[in-house]
């Protein structure tokens, strides 16, 4: 079998790396994941800096093209292989709504969810104790943000409208981590957000990517 033309560099447990993998899985693109070790500092080695001068993962190589930033990678993969996940061609309004909810994910939801996930799941790996004050502060903000999602998803099946898009998919990997914390109840309490989450998590591509991110079993807090 020929080596896939597409390579992703990084550690799949990262929700950013897995965001890129999810786009590839949804698009049905053959790819090779080149594993890297965060502990060994692979991301700071010269060969990685040549791919991503910001020392981060993921990096995607697609032929001659080398990309970093997981949302830019996901956009490229879908634009090339499954553009309908960015909205119907020529429909400016749909494309705009996909962009709006991608930005909302990036700026309004993910920073809060990530802060909670870091404290609840990843502090053992960072060699420190969980900071409950940080958790509490972010939980309060997240409740308000999720109310906006609940209102939105009461009006349409998916975030950008009645069609699945990258805006929805971009939430999956971070929410997968978040739903492994005891604060999953915040989502479970909202009927439309909950139903939307369930339908995302039921997709074959998201089920596959979930297996790359065993956060439920790796250092989950005592309930």
């Amino acid at each position: 079998m020929a080596t896939p033309a597409v390579k992703v560099y990084g550690w799949a447990i990262s929700p950013f790396v897995s965001r890129a993998l999810l786009a590839l899985e949804e698009a049905g693109v053959d790819y090779e994941l080149v594993p890297m070790s965060r502990q060994a500092g692979d991301h700071r080695r010269p060969e990685h800096l040549a791919r991503n001068p910001f020392e981060k993962v993921p990096v995607l190589e697609d032929g001659d093209l080398t990309l970093f930033e997981s949302r830019a990678i996901a956009r490229h993969v879908l634009r090339k292989h499954k553009p309908e996940l960015l909205g119907t061609a020529g429909n400016l309004e749909q494309a705009a709504l996909v962009d709006v909810w991608l930005e909302v994910e990036a700026h309004q939801l993910s920073p809060l969810a990530i802060a909670i996930v870091v404290e609840c799941i990843f502090t053992p790996f960072l060699g420190r104790e969980r900071n409950q004050a940080v958790v509490d502060e972010n939980v309060e903000k997240l409740k308000k943000v999720l109310e906006v999602y609940e209102a939105r998803l009461s009006q349409s099946k998916y975030l950008a409208g009645d069609f699945l898009s990258l805006a929805d998919l971009s939430h999956f990997t971070i929410m997968h981590c978040f739903m492994a914390t005891e604060y999953a109840t915040l989502v479970e309490a909202l009927p439309h957000v909950s139903a939307w989450w369930e339908s995302l998590a039921a997709r074959p591509a998201t089920k596959k990517v979930a297996e790359f991110m065993p956060v439920g079993t790796a250092g989950a807090p005592q309930k």
């Binding site: 001068p53 910001f54 001659d64 093209l65 990309l67 970093f68 930033e69 949302r71 830019a72 956009r75 490229h76 634009r79 090339k80 400016l92 309004e93 494309a95 705009a96 709504l97 962009d99 709006v100 991608l102 930005e103 909302v104 990036a106 700026h107 309004q108 943000v145 906006v148 209102a151 939105r152």
Partner: protein, 214 residues
């Protein structure tokens, strides 16, 4: 009917949208939102931006928020080539550097602008520790930019794009503030920014952004 942008032009996120409107020569109206009286948290504004932020944008029945989403809509509608969406490789590079602008440049400039401009305006004292921490992060990013702009004329390649222009609002405050000298160590960045700031669209919006006299 003219497109409407809700929010003060001096807000970096509002300014980003305004420069795109200028780039495509669209007819638009800036509707003030008085953030000092909490108008951005009012029910009327909430109907346009449920996160209580500026800008909000209206084009006929379409209401949008998040400045980079609004910017792309405006550029696509206006037939601009600043996104390069007809070319896979080029549009991918525009997306990459737009993410970098958001995650590495504007994210470090935002607390600096807040501490150096907004806090004193509200009668408080600048937290120099926050400013210094973010200046260090900015310098790290500028080092990467310097290497990039030593190889390419613009961030996404040898063509100007939204990725470059999206830097202008934060750059405006950096250049006009007390930390402008941080750029001296990065000559390619400095020259690139000067060129961005010299665009007619940017000059026009800078006039709109100028703070009212005290």
């Amino acid at each position: 009917m003219a497109m409407k942008v809700y929010g003060p032009a001096m807000s970096t996120n509002v300014a980003r949208v305004l420069v795109c409107l200028e780039e495509v020569g669209a007819e638009y109206e800036v509707v003030p939102v008085d953030m000092t009286t909490g108008e951005h948290k009012s029910p009327a504004h909430d109907a346009r931006n449920p996160f209580g932020q500026v800008p909000a944008f209206q084009d006929g029945d379409l209401i949008l928020y998040e400045s980079r989403a609004i910017s792309k809509y405006i550029l696509r509608k206006g037939g601009s080539d600043l996104l390069r969406e007809s070319n896979l490789a080029e549009s991918a590079m525009v997306d990459v550097w737009l993410e970098v602008e958001s995650g590495h440049f504007s994210s470090t400039m935002s607390p600096i602008i807040f501490q150096c401009l907004v806090v004193p305006f509200l009668g408080g004292e600048t937290d120099t520790k926050i400013v210094q921490e973010n200046l260090e992060k900015l310098k790290t990013a500028l080092g990467v930019y310097e290497a990039r702009l030593s190889r390419f004329k613009y961030l996404a390649g040898d063509f100007v794009s939204l990725a470059d222009i999206s830097h202008f609002p934060a750059a405006y405050y950096l250049l006009g503030g007390s930390h402008a000298s941080v750029l001296d160590a990065y000559p390619h960045v400095k020259a690139w920014l000067a060129e961005v700031m010299d665009r007619p669209s940017v000059r026009k919006v800078v006039e709109l952004m100028k703070l009212p006299s005290a």
